[in-house]
Protein backbone atom coordinates (compact mmCIF):
# COMPACT_ATOMS: atom_id res chain seq x y z
CA UNK A 1 0.00 0.00 0.00
CA UNK A 2 1.74 3.14 -1.11
CA UNK A 3 1.41 6.71 0.07
CA UNK A 4 -0.35 7.83 -3.08
CA UNK A 5 -3.10 5.37 -2.46
CA UNK A 6 -3.47 6.48 1.16
CA UNK A 7 -3.58 10.10 0.08
CA UNK A 8 -6.27 9.33 -2.43
CA UNK A 9 -8.35 7.54 0.16
CA UNK A 10 -8.02 10.37 2.65
CA UNK A 11 -8.87 13.04 0.09
CA UNK A 12 -11.91 11.15 -1.00
CA UNK A 13 -13.04 10.83 2.61
CA UNK A 14 -12.64 14.58 3.18
CA UNK A 15 -14.83 15.18 0.17
CA UNK A 16 -17.50 12.91 1.58
CA UNK A 17 -17.35 14.71 4.89
CA UNK A 18 -18.02 18.01 3.14
CA UNK A 19 -21.19 16.60 1.62
CA UNK A 20 -22.09 14.71 4.78
CA UNK A 21 -23.91 15.39 8.04
CA UNK A 22 -23.12 16.09 11.69
CA UNK A 23 -22.82 13.45 14.41
CA UNK A 24 -25.05 15.65 16.53
CA UNK A 25 -27.90 15.83 15.77
CA UNK A 26 -28.14 13.66 12.64
CA UNK A 27 -26.53 10.40 13.72
CA UNK A 28 -27.47 10.56 17.35
CA UNK A 29 -31.09 10.94 16.43
CA UNK A 30 -31.08 7.69 14.49
CA UNK A 31 -28.95 5.94 17.11
CA UNK A 32 -31.35 6.97 19.79
CA UNK A 33 -34.41 5.77 17.92
CA UNK A 34 -32.82 2.37 17.33
CA UNK A 35 -31.67 2.06 20.93
CA UNK A 36 -35.11 3.07 22.14
CA UNK A 37 -36.71 0.46 19.90
CA UNK A 38 -34.36 -2.17 21.34
CA UNK A 39 -35.25 -1.01 24.84
CA UNK A 40 -38.95 -1.44 24.14
CA UNK A 41 -38.23 -4.82 22.58
CA UNK A 42 -36.33 -5.94 25.69
CA UNK A 43 -39.05 -4.80 28.07
CA UNK A 44 -41.59 -6.55 25.85
CA UNK A 45 -39.60 -9.79 25.76
CA UNK A 46 -39.05 -9.70 29.52
CA UNK A 47 -42.71 -8.98 30.19
CA UNK A 48 -44.56 -11.09 27.68
CA UNK A 49 -42.22 -13.99 27.01
CA UNK A 50 -40.15 -14.06 30.17
CA UNK A 51 -37.61 -16.72 30.89
CA UNK A 52 -38.35 -20.38 30.48
CA UNK A 53 -38.14 -21.96 33.94
CA UNK A 54 -35.60 -24.74 34.19
CA UNK A 55 -35.26 -27.44 36.81
CA UNK A 56 -32.42 -27.49 39.30
CA UNK A 57 -29.16 -29.19 38.39
CA UNK A 58 -29.49 -32.95 38.37
CA UNK A 59 -26.37 -34.69 37.05
CA UNK A 60 -28.12 -38.06 37.33
CA UNK A 61 -30.98 -37.18 35.01
CA UNK A 62 -30.18 -39.18 31.89
CA UNK A 63 -33.23 -37.95 30.02
CA UNK A 64 -32.11 -34.33 29.92
CA UNK A 65 -31.14 -33.07 26.47
CA UNK A 66 -28.20 -30.68 26.83
CA UNK A 67 -28.15 -27.73 24.42
CA UNK A 68 -26.02 -24.60 24.39
CA UNK A 69 -27.34 -21.08 23.99
CA UNK A 70 -28.79 -20.57 20.51
CA UNK A 71 -25.80 -18.62 19.18
CA UNK A 72 -23.50 -21.56 19.84
CA UNK A 73 -25.84 -24.10 18.28
CA UNK A 74 -24.16 -23.93 14.87
CA UNK A 75 -20.86 -24.96 16.43
CA UNK A 76 -22.57 -27.68 18.42
CA UNK A 77 -24.20 -28.98 15.25
CA UNK A 78 -20.94 -28.69 13.29
CA UNK A 79 -19.32 -31.24 15.61
CA UNK A 80 -21.87 -33.84 14.55
CA UNK A 81 -20.00 -34.23 11.29
CA UNK A 82 -16.68 -35.11 12.86
CA UNK A 83 -16.15 -38.70 13.96
CA UNK A 84 -14.35 -39.38 17.23
CA UNK A 85 -10.74 -39.54 16.10
CA UNK A 86 -10.81 -36.25 14.21
CA UNK A 87 -13.21 -34.48 16.55
CA UNK A 88 -10.42 -32.08 17.49
CA UNK A 89 -10.35 -30.83 13.91
CA UNK A 90 -13.96 -29.69 14.17
CA UNK A 91 -13.71 -28.56 17.77
CA UNK A 92 -10.41 -26.71 17.77
CA UNK A 93 -8.64 -26.46 14.41
CA UNK A 94 -11.40 -25.18 12.14
CA UNK A 95 -12.99 -22.75 14.64
CA UNK A 96 -9.49 -21.61 15.63
CA UNK A 97 -8.53 -20.88 12.03
CA UNK A 98 -11.83 -19.10 11.37
CA UNK A 99 -11.50 -16.91 14.46
CA UNK A 100 -7.94 -15.97 13.55
CA UNK A 101 -9.00 -15.30 9.98
CA UNK A 102 -11.73 -13.04 11.27
CA UNK A 103 -9.51 -11.02 13.59
CA UNK A 104 -6.66 -10.61 11.13
CA UNK A 105 -8.87 -9.97 8.11
CA UNK A 106 -7.61 -6.43 7.32
CA UNK A 107 -4.00 -7.62 7.44
CA UNK A 108 -4.23 -10.22 4.68
CA UNK A 109 -7.08 -8.80 2.60
CA UNK A 110 -4.89 -6.90 0.11
CA UNK A 111 -7.69 -6.12 -2.31
CA UNK A 112 -7.54 -2.30 -2.53
CA UNK A 113 -11.12 -1.98 -3.79
CA UNK A 114 -14.04 -1.36 -1.53
CA UNK A 115 -17.04 -1.50 -3.82
CA UNK A 116 -19.16 -4.66 -3.69
CA UNK A 117 -18.70 -5.39 -7.38
CA UNK A 118 -14.93 -5.60 -6.95
CA UNK A 119 -14.97 -7.88 -3.87
CA UNK A 120 -16.96 -10.76 -5.24
CA UNK A 121 -14.80 -13.45 -3.67
CA UNK A 122 -14.74 -11.97 -0.17
CA UNK A 123 -18.45 -11.24 -0.16
CA UNK A 124 -19.26 -14.63 -1.63
CA UNK A 125 -17.16 -16.43 0.99
CA UNK A 126 -18.66 -14.50 3.91
CA UNK A 127 -22.18 -15.04 2.59
CA UNK A 128 -21.45 -18.74 2.30
CA UNK A 129 -20.16 -18.90 5.88
CA UNK A 130 -23.12 -16.96 7.27
CA UNK A 131 -25.64 -19.09 5.37
CA UNK A 132 -23.78 -22.17 6.59
CA UNK A 133 -24.04 -20.97 10.19
CA UNK A 134 -27.74 -20.25 9.81
CA UNK A 135 -28.29 -23.61 8.13
CA UNK A 136 -26.45 -25.47 10.89
CA UNK A 137 -28.44 -23.59 13.52
CA UNK A 138 -31.74 -24.42 11.85
CA UNK A 139 -30.72 -28.04 11.49
CA UNK A 140 -29.74 -28.18 15.15
CA UNK A 141 -33.10 -26.76 16.19
CA UNK A 142 -35.02 -29.19 14.00
CA UNK A 143 -33.13 -32.25 15.20
CA UNK A 144 -33.30 -31.41 18.91
CA UNK A 145 -35.54 -33.94 20.62
CA UNK A 146 -38.25 -32.38 22.79
CA UNK A 147 -37.28 -31.79 26.37
CA UNK A 148 -39.30 -33.58 29.04
CA UNK A 149 -41.01 -30.77 30.92
CA UNK A 150 -41.26 -30.97 34.67
CA UNK A 151 -43.28 -28.77 36.94
CA UNK A 152 -41.20 -26.05 38.53
CA UNK A 153 -42.18 -24.24 41.68
CA UNK A 154 -41.17 -20.64 41.91
CA UNK A 155 -42.26 -19.44 45.30
CA UNK A 156 -42.20 -21.28 48.59
CA UNK A 157 -45.97 -21.57 48.43
CA UNK A 158 -45.80 -23.32 45.09
CA UNK A 159 -43.11 -25.62 46.44
CA UNK A 160 -45.24 -26.61 49.39
CA UNK A 161 -48.32 -27.22 47.24
CA UNK A 162 -46.38 -29.30 44.70
CA UNK A 163 -44.65 -31.08 47.57
CA UNK A 164 -47.97 -32.02 49.11
CA UNK A 165 -49.20 -33.43 45.81
CA UNK A 166 -46.05 -35.50 45.48
CA UNK A 167 -46.26 -36.62 49.08
CA UNK A 168 -49.88 -37.68 48.59
CA UNK A 169 -48.96 -39.88 45.67
CA UNK A 170 -45.64 -41.27 46.82
CA UNK A 171 -45.78 -41.52 50.59
CA UNK A 172 -49.36 -41.75 51.85
CA UNK A 173 -49.72 -45.50 51.32
CA UNK A 174 -47.18 -46.17 54.07
CA UNK A 175 -46.85 -42.97 56.07
CA UNK A 176 -50.45 -41.82 56.01
CA UNK A 177 -51.82 -38.47 54.85
CA UNK A 178 -50.36 -36.60 57.82
CA UNK A 179 -47.18 -38.59 58.26
CA UNK A 180 -48.74 -40.30 61.26
CA UNK A 181 -47.47 -43.78 60.31
CA UNK A 182 -49.02 -46.86 61.88
CA UNK A 183 -49.47 -50.35 60.49
CA UNK A 184 -49.08 -50.63 56.75
CA UNK A 185 -52.00 -52.21 54.96
CA UNK A 186 -52.30 -53.09 51.30
CA UNK A 187 -48.72 -52.43 50.25
CA UNK A 188 -46.94 -55.30 48.57
CA UNK A 189 -44.03 -56.63 50.60
CA UNK A 190 -44.59 -54.34 53.55
CA UNK A 191 -47.90 -55.69 54.84
CA UNK A 192 -48.20 -55.31 58.59
CA UNK A 193 -45.00 -53.38 59.09
CA UNK A 194 -45.39 -50.74 61.78
CA UNK A 195 -44.14 -47.33 60.67
CA UNK A 196 -43.31 -44.68 63.22
CA UNK A 197 -44.68 -41.19 62.81
CA UNK A 198 -42.55 -38.97 60.62
CA UNK A 199 -44.41 -35.81 61.53
CA UNK A 200 -43.65 -35.82 65.24
CA UNK A 201 -41.65 -33.11 66.97
CA UNK A 202 -38.93 -35.68 67.67
CA UNK A 203 -38.49 -36.31 63.98
CA UNK A 204 -38.83 -32.72 62.86
CA UNK A 205 -36.47 -31.22 65.42
CA UNK A 206 -33.72 -33.75 64.92
CA UNK A 207 -33.64 -34.01 61.14
CA UNK A 208 -32.68 -31.07 59.04
CA UNK A 209 -33.79 -30.56 55.45
CA UNK A 210 -30.64 -32.26 54.17
CA UNK A 211 -31.33 -35.45 56.15
CA UNK A 212 -34.95 -35.52 55.06
CA UNK A 213 -33.80 -35.10 51.47
CA UNK A 214 -31.31 -37.96 51.80
CA UNK A 215 -33.80 -40.26 53.46
CA UNK A 216 -36.29 -39.74 50.63
CA UNK A 217 -33.68 -39.95 47.89
CA UNK A 218 -31.72 -42.93 49.16
CA UNK A 219 -34.50 -44.55 51.16
CA UNK A 220 -33.77 -46.68 54.21
CA UNK A 221 -33.68 -50.08 52.53
CA UNK A 222 -32.93 -51.98 55.74
CA UNK A 223 -36.03 -50.54 57.35
CA UNK A 224 -38.12 -51.28 54.27
CA UNK A 225 -38.24 -47.81 52.77
CA UNK A 226 -37.37 -47.91 49.08
CA UNK A 227 -35.29 -45.18 47.41
CA UNK A 228 -37.25 -42.42 45.67
CA UNK A 229 -34.41 -40.40 44.16
CA UNK A 230 -33.77 -40.85 40.47
CA UNK A 231 -30.11 -41.49 41.23
CA UNK A 232 -30.93 -44.51 43.36
CA UNK A 233 -33.63 -46.14 41.27
CA UNK A 234 -36.66 -44.07 42.26
CA UNK A 235 -38.64 -41.74 40.07
CA UNK A 236 -38.22 -38.31 41.67
CA UNK A 237 -35.92 -35.48 40.64
CA UNK A 238 -33.93 -33.53 43.22
CA UNK A 239 -36.29 -30.57 42.82
CA UNK A 240 -39.30 -32.76 43.50
CA UNK A 241 -37.72 -34.17 46.63
CA UNK A 242 -36.96 -30.63 47.77
CA UNK A 243 -40.59 -29.68 47.33
CA UNK A 244 -41.61 -32.67 49.46
CA UNK A 245 -39.15 -31.65 52.15
CA UNK A 246 -40.55 -28.11 52.06
CA UNK A 247 -44.06 -29.51 52.47
CA UNK A 248 -43.03 -31.69 55.41
CA UNK A 249 -41.07 -28.95 57.14
CA UNK A 250 -43.71 -26.26 56.86
CA UNK A 251 -46.64 -28.53 57.65
CA UNK A 252 -45.23 -30.52 60.55
CA UNK A 253 -42.47 -28.50 62.18
CA UNK A 254 -44.05 -26.20 64.72
CA UNK A 255 -41.04 -23.86 64.61
CA UNK A 256 -41.63 -23.01 60.97
CA UNK A 257 -44.75 -21.12 60.02
CA UNK A 258 -46.42 -22.18 56.82
CA UNK A 259 -47.26 -19.23 54.57
CA UNK A 260 -50.98 -18.50 54.75
CA UNK A 261 -51.43 -18.66 50.99
CA UNK A 262 -49.90 -22.15 50.96
CA UNK A 263 -52.53 -23.33 53.41
CA UNK A 264 -55.23 -21.79 51.27
CA UNK A 265 -53.83 -23.20 48.03
CA UNK A 266 -53.54 -26.76 49.29
CA UNK A 267 -56.84 -26.83 51.15
CA UNK A 268 -59.55 -29.09 49.77
CA UNK A 269 -62.49 -26.83 48.87
CA UNK A 270 -65.41 -27.07 51.24
CA UNK A 271 -69.01 -27.37 50.18
CA UNK A 272 -71.70 -24.85 50.87
CA UNK A 273 -75.15 -26.02 51.75
CA UNK A 274 -76.99 -27.24 48.67
CA UNK A 275 -73.85 -27.07 46.54
CA UNK A 276 -73.15 -30.09 44.37
CA UNK A 277 -69.51 -31.17 44.31
CA UNK A 278 -67.79 -31.74 40.97
CA UNK A 279 -65.05 -34.18 40.06
CA UNK A 280 -62.88 -31.38 38.77
CA UNK A 281 -62.87 -29.29 41.93
CA UNK A 282 -63.71 -31.56 44.85
CA UNK A 283 -63.53 -35.27 44.20
CA UNK A 284 -60.19 -35.18 42.41
CA UNK A 285 -58.69 -33.17 45.27
CA UNK A 286 -59.78 -35.75 47.83
CA UNK A 287 -58.83 -38.78 45.76
CA UNK A 288 -55.43 -37.31 44.98
CA UNK A 289 -54.73 -36.69 48.64
CA UNK A 290 -56.12 -39.89 50.15
CA UNK A 291 -56.52 -42.58 47.52
CA UNK A 292 -54.11 -42.27 44.62
CA UNK A 293 -51.06 -43.35 46.54
CA UNK A 294 -52.37 -46.92 46.12
CA UNK A 295 -54.88 -46.45 43.31
CA UNK A 296 -52.42 -45.77 40.55
CA UNK A 297 -50.48 -47.82 38.04
CA UNK A 298 -48.15 -50.47 39.45
CA UNK A 299 -49.78 -50.87 42.85
CA UNK A 300 -51.83 -53.69 44.34
CA UNK A 301 -55.31 -52.29 43.93
CA UNK A 302 -57.49 -54.71 41.93
CA UNK A 303 -56.67 -52.62 38.87
CA UNK A 304 -58.77 -49.78 40.24
CA UNK A 305 -57.15 -46.48 39.32
CA UNK A 306 -58.34 -43.09 40.46
CA UNK A 307 -56.29 -40.71 38.39
CA UNK A 308 -59.07 -39.33 36.19
CA UNK A 309 -62.84 -39.10 35.90
CA UNK A 310 -62.87 -42.01 33.44
CA UNK A 311 -60.71 -44.20 35.66
CA UNK A 312 -62.62 -43.49 38.83
CA UNK A 313 -65.84 -44.72 37.17
CA UNK A 314 -64.71 -47.41 34.79
CA UNK A 315 -61.44 -49.04 35.83
CA UNK A 316 -60.76 -52.06 37.99
CA UNK A 317 -62.07 -55.57 38.48
CA UNK A 318 -65.24 -54.55 40.29
CA UNK A 319 -66.87 -52.23 37.78
CA UNK A 320 -69.16 -50.44 38.32
CA UNK A 321 -67.53 -48.79 41.25
CA UNK A 322 -69.97 -45.97 41.23
CA UNK A 323 -73.47 -45.67 39.86
CA UNK A 324 -75.08 -42.29 39.63
CA UNK A 325 -77.68 -41.90 42.36
CA UNK A 326 -76.95 -45.33 43.86
CA UNK A 327 -75.88 -44.94 47.45
CA UNK A 328 -74.96 -48.66 47.59
CA UNK A 329 -72.16 -48.13 45.07
CA UNK A 330 -69.04 -50.03 46.06
CA UNK A 331 -66.89 -46.98 46.57
CA UNK A 332 -69.45 -45.24 48.74
CA UNK A 333 -69.84 -48.33 50.94
CA UNK A 334 -66.15 -48.89 51.46
CA UNK A 335 -65.42 -45.31 52.43
CA UNK A 336 -68.28 -45.56 54.93
CA UNK A 337 -66.47 -48.45 56.60
CA UNK A 338 -68.63 -51.22 55.15
CA UNK A 339 -66.98 -54.23 53.56
CA UNK A 340 -68.40 -55.31 50.22
CA UNK A 341 -68.28 -58.56 48.30
CA UNK A 342 -66.77 -58.02 44.90
CA UNK A 343 -67.32 -59.85 41.60
CA UNK A 344 -65.03 -62.79 42.43
CA UNK A 345 -66.69 -63.23 45.83
CA UNK A 346 -63.65 -61.51 47.18
CA UNK A 347 -64.08 -59.18 50.06
CA UNK A 348 -63.28 -55.58 49.37
CA UNK A 349 -61.99 -54.05 52.55
CA UNK A 350 -62.86 -50.68 53.94
CA UNK A 351 -61.14 -47.73 52.31
CA UNK A 352 -58.79 -46.11 52.99
CA UNK A 353 -57.47 -49.18 54.79
CA UNK A 354 -55.63 -47.33 57.54
CA UNK A 355 -57.45 -44.22 58.52
CA UNK A 356 -61.09 -43.34 58.04
CA UNK A 357 -61.81 -40.55 55.61
CA UNK A 358 -62.96 -37.39 57.33
CA UNK A 359 -66.79 -37.25 57.52
CA UNK A 360 -66.96 -34.11 55.38
CA UNK A 361 -65.16 -35.91 52.55
CA UNK A 362 -67.42 -38.95 52.84
CA UNK A 363 -70.35 -36.56 52.70
CA UNK A 364 -68.80 -34.94 49.64
CA UNK A 365 -68.71 -38.30 47.82
CA UNK A 366 -72.28 -39.11 48.82
CA UNK A 367 -73.60 -35.78 47.61
CA UNK A 368 -71.64 -36.17 44.40
CA UNK A 369 -73.12 -39.61 43.64
CA UNK A 370 -76.60 -38.47 44.60
CA UNK A 371 -76.38 -35.55 42.21
CA UNK A 372 -75.31 -37.78 39.33
CA UNK A 373 -71.52 -37.37 39.50
CA UNK A 374 -70.93 -34.19 37.49
CA UNK A 375 -67.44 -33.93 36.05
CA UNK A 376 -66.87 -30.22 35.54
CA UNK A 377 -67.49 -27.37 37.91
CA UNK A 378 -70.04 -25.81 35.57
CA UNK A 379 -72.11 -29.02 35.41
CA UNK A 380 -72.08 -29.17 39.19
CA UNK A 381 -73.08 -25.55 39.47
CA UNK A 382 -76.06 -26.20 37.21
CA UNK A 383 -77.23 -28.97 39.55
CA UNK A 384 -76.67 -27.00 42.72
CA UNK A 385 -79.63 -25.76 44.69
CA UNK A 386 -79.39 -22.08 45.37
CA UNK A 387 -79.64 -21.62 49.07
CA UNK A 388 -80.37 -18.06 50.02
CA UNK A 389 -77.37 -16.67 51.84
CA UNK A 390 -78.05 -16.55 55.53
CA UNK A 391 -78.71 -12.94 56.18
CA UNK A 392 -79.56 -12.02 59.71
CA UNK A 393 -83.28 -12.37 60.31
CA UNK A 394 -83.74 -14.59 57.30
CA UNK A 395 -83.53 -18.35 57.42
CA UNK A 396 -83.16 -20.78 54.54
CA UNK A 397 -86.60 -22.31 53.75
CA UNK A 398 -85.86 -25.98 54.44
CA UNK A 399 -83.64 -25.32 57.42
CA UNK A 400 -86.49 -26.19 59.74
CA UNK A 401 -85.29 -23.87 62.43
CA UNK A 402 -87.66 -21.69 64.30
CA UNK A 403 -87.58 -18.23 63.00
CA UNK A 404 -85.76 -15.94 65.32
CA UNK A 405 -86.76 -12.32 65.41
CA UNK A 406 -84.16 -9.87 64.34
CA UNK A 407 -82.48 -8.21 67.27
Amino acid sequence: MNDDFKKKVNEKYEEKLQKGERFWPDSIYKDLLVSFALFILLIGLATFIGIHPEPKVDPTDASYVPRPEWYFLFLFEFLKYFPGEIEWVGAAVIPGILVLALILLPLYDKNPFRHYSKRKFAIGLMTFIVIGMIGLTINAVITTPPQVETEIAGSLTEQIVLGQDLYSIQCVECHGPDGEGGEIAGVEGLEGVIVKSISSTDEMYTRNDGSLFDIIAYGQPNLGMPPFGGAYGGELTPSEIEYMVAFMRYSWDDRAEIPADAVAASAIPTLAEGEVPSYEVHISAVSKRYCMSCHREGKENNEYLMGSYEEILKSGNNVPNLVAGDLNSILLQTIQQNEVIGVDDETIGVMPPKKELKPEFVDMFIRWVEAGMPESASEAAALSVEVAPEVEGEVAPEAGVEETPAP
Binding site: K16, K30, Y64, P68, E69, A91, I103, R114, M126, G154
Partner: protein
Protein backbone atom coordinates in the same frame (compact mmCIF):
# COMPACT_ATOMS: atom_id res chain seq x y z
CA UNK B 1 -27.93 30.17 40.52
CA UNK B 2 -28.12 27.41 37.91
CA UNK B 3 -26.10 29.58 35.55
CA UNK B 4 -23.44 30.11 38.19
CA UNK B 5 -23.04 26.39 38.76
CA UNK B 6 -22.89 25.85 35.01
CA UNK B 7 -20.24 28.52 34.61
CA UNK B 8 -18.19 27.08 37.46
CA UNK B 9 -18.36 23.59 35.94
CA UNK B 10 -17.74 24.84 32.41
CA UNK B 11 -14.60 26.62 33.51
CA UNK B 12 -13.23 23.35 34.84
CA UNK B 13 -14.71 20.73 32.47
CA UNK B 14 -14.81 22.71 29.25
CA UNK B 15 -18.20 21.79 27.82
CA UNK B 16 -17.47 23.68 24.64
CA UNK B 17 -14.47 21.53 23.81
CA UNK B 18 -16.42 18.41 24.66
CA UNK B 19 -19.23 19.51 22.39
CA UNK B 20 -16.90 20.28 19.49
CA UNK B 21 -14.85 17.10 19.81
CA UNK B 22 -17.51 14.59 20.74
CA UNK B 23 -20.76 15.76 19.23
CA UNK B 24 -20.25 18.35 16.54
CA UNK B 25 -18.22 16.07 14.31
CA UNK B 26 -18.73 15.94 10.56
CA UNK B 27 -19.70 12.59 9.11
CA UNK B 28 -20.33 11.11 5.69
CA UNK B 29 -23.94 10.37 4.89
CA UNK B 30 -24.95 7.26 6.74
CA UNK B 31 -28.03 5.09 6.89
CA UNK B 32 -29.81 3.00 9.48
CA UNK B 33 -27.16 0.28 9.33
CA UNK B 34 -24.80 2.76 10.97
CA UNK B 35 -26.80 2.68 14.18
CA UNK B 36 -25.80 -0.87 15.08
CA UNK B 37 -22.53 0.13 16.74
CA UNK B 38 -24.21 2.50 19.13
CA UNK B 39 -26.97 -0.06 19.64
CA UNK B 40 -24.29 -2.55 20.72
CA UNK B 41 -22.92 0.01 23.15
CA UNK B 42 -26.41 0.71 24.44
CA UNK B 43 -26.98 -3.01 25.04
CA UNK B 44 -23.61 -3.29 26.77
CA UNK B 45 -24.63 -0.51 29.15
CA UNK B 46 -28.03 -2.13 29.74
CA UNK B 47 -26.35 -5.47 30.46
CA UNK B 48 -23.93 -3.77 32.80
CA UNK B 49 -26.68 -1.98 34.70
CA UNK B 50 -29.03 -4.95 35.01
CA UNK B 51 -26.09 -7.25 35.76
CA UNK B 52 -24.96 -5.06 38.65
CA UNK B 53 -28.48 -5.09 40.06
CA UNK B 54 -28.71 -8.86 39.74
CA UNK B 55 -25.64 -9.30 41.96
CA UNK B 56 -27.58 -7.70 44.81
CA UNK B 57 -29.46 -10.98 45.28
CA UNK B 58 -27.57 -13.56 43.24
CA UNK B 59 -25.25 -15.89 45.13
CA UNK B 60 -22.59 -17.75 43.11
CA UNK B 61 -22.57 -21.05 44.94
CA UNK B 62 -24.08 -24.33 43.78
CA UNK B 63 -26.21 -24.53 46.92
CA UNK B 64 -27.74 -21.11 46.54
CA UNK B 65 -27.42 -19.98 42.92
CA UNK B 66 -30.63 -21.65 41.76
CA UNK B 67 -32.67 -20.65 44.81
CA UNK B 68 -31.41 -17.08 44.74
CA UNK B 69 -32.51 -16.77 41.12
CA UNK B 70 -35.89 -18.26 41.94
CA UNK B 71 -36.10 -15.58 44.60
CA UNK B 72 -35.18 -12.86 42.12
CA UNK B 73 -37.86 -14.13 39.75
CA UNK B 74 -40.63 -14.60 42.30
CA UNK B 75 -39.74 -12.93 45.56
CA UNK B 76 -38.31 -9.52 44.72
CA UNK B 77 -40.34 -6.71 43.21
CA UNK B 78 -39.43 -6.35 39.52
CA UNK B 79 -36.78 -9.06 39.78
CA UNK B 80 -38.38 -10.75 36.77
CA UNK B 81 -37.96 -7.52 34.79
CA UNK B 82 -34.30 -6.99 35.67
CA UNK B 83 -33.41 -10.60 34.93
CA UNK B 84 -35.66 -10.67 31.88
CA UNK B 85 -33.86 -7.69 30.37
CA UNK B 86 -30.48 -9.21 31.19
CA UNK B 87 -31.47 -12.57 29.72
CA UNK B 88 -32.90 -11.23 26.48
CA UNK B 89 -30.33 -8.45 26.29
CA UNK B 90 -27.59 -11.08 26.12
CA UNK B 91 -29.10 -12.75 23.07
CA UNK B 92 -29.88 -9.44 21.45
CA UNK B 93 -26.38 -8.14 22.05
CA UNK B 94 -24.76 -11.15 20.38
CA UNK B 95 -27.11 -10.70 17.44
CA UNK B 96 -26.60 -6.95 17.10
CA UNK B 97 -22.82 -7.13 17.47
CA UNK B 98 -22.72 -9.87 14.84
CA UNK B 99 -24.84 -7.91 12.37
CA UNK B 100 -22.73 -4.82 13.08
CA UNK B 101 -19.68 -6.87 12.15
CA UNK B 102 -21.28 -8.15 8.96
CA UNK B 103 -22.22 -4.58 8.01
CA UNK B 104 -18.60 -3.53 8.49
CA UNK B 105 -17.46 -6.45 6.39
CA UNK B 106 -19.84 -5.93 3.50
CA UNK B 107 -19.15 -2.20 3.29
CA UNK B 108 -15.40 -2.96 3.50
CA UNK B 109 -15.06 -0.43 6.29
CA UNK B 110 -12.21 -2.44 7.77
CA UNK B 111 -9.81 -1.30 5.07
CA UNK B 112 -7.26 1.48 5.38
CA UNK B 113 -7.18 3.39 7.71
CA UNK B 114 -9.52 1.40 9.95
CA UNK B 115 -7.73 -1.96 10.18
CA UNK B 116 -7.15 -1.70 13.91
CA UNK B 117 -10.76 -0.71 14.53
CA UNK B 118 -11.76 -4.02 12.92
CA UNK B 119 -9.26 -6.04 14.93
CA UNK B 120 -10.44 -4.50 18.19
CA UNK B 121 -14.05 -4.93 17.07
CA UNK B 122 -13.63 -8.61 16.32
CA UNK B 123 -12.09 -9.07 19.76
CA UNK B 124 -15.14 -7.33 21.19
CA UNK B 125 -17.34 -9.83 19.35
CA UNK B 126 -15.41 -12.74 20.84
CA UNK B 127 -15.62 -11.20 24.32
CA UNK B 128 -19.38 -10.81 23.86
CA UNK B 129 -19.59 -14.51 23.07
CA UNK B 130 -17.45 -15.16 26.15
CA UNK B 131 -19.92 -13.20 28.23
CA UNK B 132 -22.74 -15.31 26.84
CA UNK B 133 -20.83 -18.51 27.55
CA UNK B 134 -19.89 -17.66 31.14
CA UNK B 135 -23.25 -16.11 31.97
CA UNK B 136 -25.04 -19.21 30.77
CA UNK B 137 -23.78 -21.28 33.71
CA UNK B 138 -24.71 -18.82 36.43
CA UNK B 139 -28.38 -19.81 36.95
CA UNK B 140 -27.00 -23.29 37.71
CA UNK B 141 -30.05 -25.08 36.38
CA UNK B 142 -30.18 -28.20 34.23
CA UNK B 143 -29.71 -26.28 31.00
CA UNK B 144 -26.78 -24.30 32.37
CA UNK B 145 -25.08 -27.28 33.91
CA UNK B 146 -25.30 -29.56 30.91
CA UNK B 147 -24.37 -26.89 28.40
CA UNK B 148 -21.25 -26.13 30.41
CA UNK B 149 -20.37 -29.80 30.77
CA UNK B 150 -20.58 -30.24 26.99
CA UNK B 151 -18.87 -26.96 26.11
CA UNK B 152 -15.92 -27.48 28.41
CA UNK B 153 -15.68 -31.04 27.10
CA UNK B 154 -15.27 -29.58 23.61
CA UNK B 155 -12.27 -27.66 24.93
CA UNK B 156 -10.96 -30.96 26.19
CA UNK B 157 -10.63 -32.60 22.77
CA UNK B 158 -7.75 -30.39 21.67
CA UNK B 159 -4.85 -32.81 21.16
CA UNK B 160 -2.09 -32.65 23.74
CA UNK B 161 -3.34 -29.81 25.88
CA UNK B 162 -7.04 -30.71 25.89
CA UNK B 163 -7.00 -32.14 29.37
CA UNK B 164 -5.27 -29.04 30.66
CA UNK B 165 -7.79 -26.73 28.96
CA UNK B 166 -10.66 -28.72 30.40
CA UNK B 167 -9.30 -28.50 33.93
CA UNK B 168 -8.42 -24.84 33.57
CA UNK B 169 -11.93 -24.02 32.39
CA UNK B 170 -13.64 -26.06 35.07
CA UNK B 171 -11.19 -25.38 37.86
CA UNK B 172 -10.75 -29.14 38.29
CA UNK B 173 -12.01 -32.26 36.66
CA UNK B 174 -15.69 -31.69 37.34
CA UNK B 175 -18.20 -28.92 36.82
CA UNK B 176 -18.36 -27.84 40.45
CA UNK B 177 -18.50 -24.91 42.84
CA UNK B 178 -15.08 -23.88 41.50
CA UNK B 179 -16.39 -23.78 37.94
CA UNK B 180 -19.31 -21.65 39.02
CA UNK B 181 -17.20 -19.17 40.93
CA UNK B 182 -14.60 -18.80 38.19
CA UNK B 183 -17.29 -18.34 35.56
CA UNK B 184 -18.91 -15.78 37.84
CA UNK B 185 -15.65 -13.93 38.28
CA UNK B 186 -15.01 -13.96 34.55
CA UNK B 187 -18.56 -12.87 33.83
CA UNK B 188 -18.74 -9.93 36.20
CA UNK B 189 -15.11 -8.74 36.41
CA UNK B 190 -12.60 -9.97 33.86
CA UNK B 191 -14.63 -10.01 30.66
CA UNK B 192 -16.53 -6.77 31.36
CA UNK B 193 -13.27 -5.02 32.24
CA UNK B 194 -11.71 -6.21 29.00
CA UNK B 195 -14.87 -5.26 27.10
CA UNK B 196 -15.02 -1.79 28.60
CA UNK B 197 -11.34 -1.16 27.86
CA UNK B 198 -11.57 -2.35 24.28
CA UNK B 199 -14.81 -0.42 23.74
CA UNK B 200 -12.86 2.68 24.77
CA UNK B 201 -10.16 1.91 22.22
CA UNK B 202 -12.78 1.13 19.58
CA UNK B 203 -14.55 4.45 20.17
CA UNK B 204 -11.30 6.39 20.18
CA UNK B 205 -10.33 4.86 16.86
CA UNK B 206 -13.73 5.68 15.39
CA UNK B 207 -13.42 9.30 16.48
CA UNK B 208 -9.87 9.51 15.19
CA UNK B 209 -10.69 8.20 11.73
CA UNK B 210 -14.31 9.25 11.55
CA UNK B 211 -17.15 7.01 10.54
CA UNK B 212 -16.44 5.24 7.30
CA UNK B 213 -18.27 6.21 4.13
CA UNK B 214 -20.15 3.70 2.02
CA UNK B 215 -18.08 2.76 -1.06
CA UNK B 216 -18.87 4.23 -4.49
CA UNK B 217 -18.57 2.52 -7.87
CA UNK B 218 -14.98 3.69 -8.22
CA UNK B 219 -13.74 2.76 -4.73
Amino acid sequence: MFKKIYAWLDERVGFDGLYKNLLDRPEPHGNWWNTLGSASLFLFIMQGATGIFLTVYYTPSPDHAYDSIQYIMNGVAFGWLIRGIHHWGASLMVLIVFIHMLRTFFSASYKYPRELTWIVGSLLFLLTLGMGFTGYLLPFNQRAYWATVVATEIGGVVPGIGDFILKALRGGTDVSALTLSRFFSAHIWMLPAALAGLIGVHLYLIMRHGESAYPDQDD
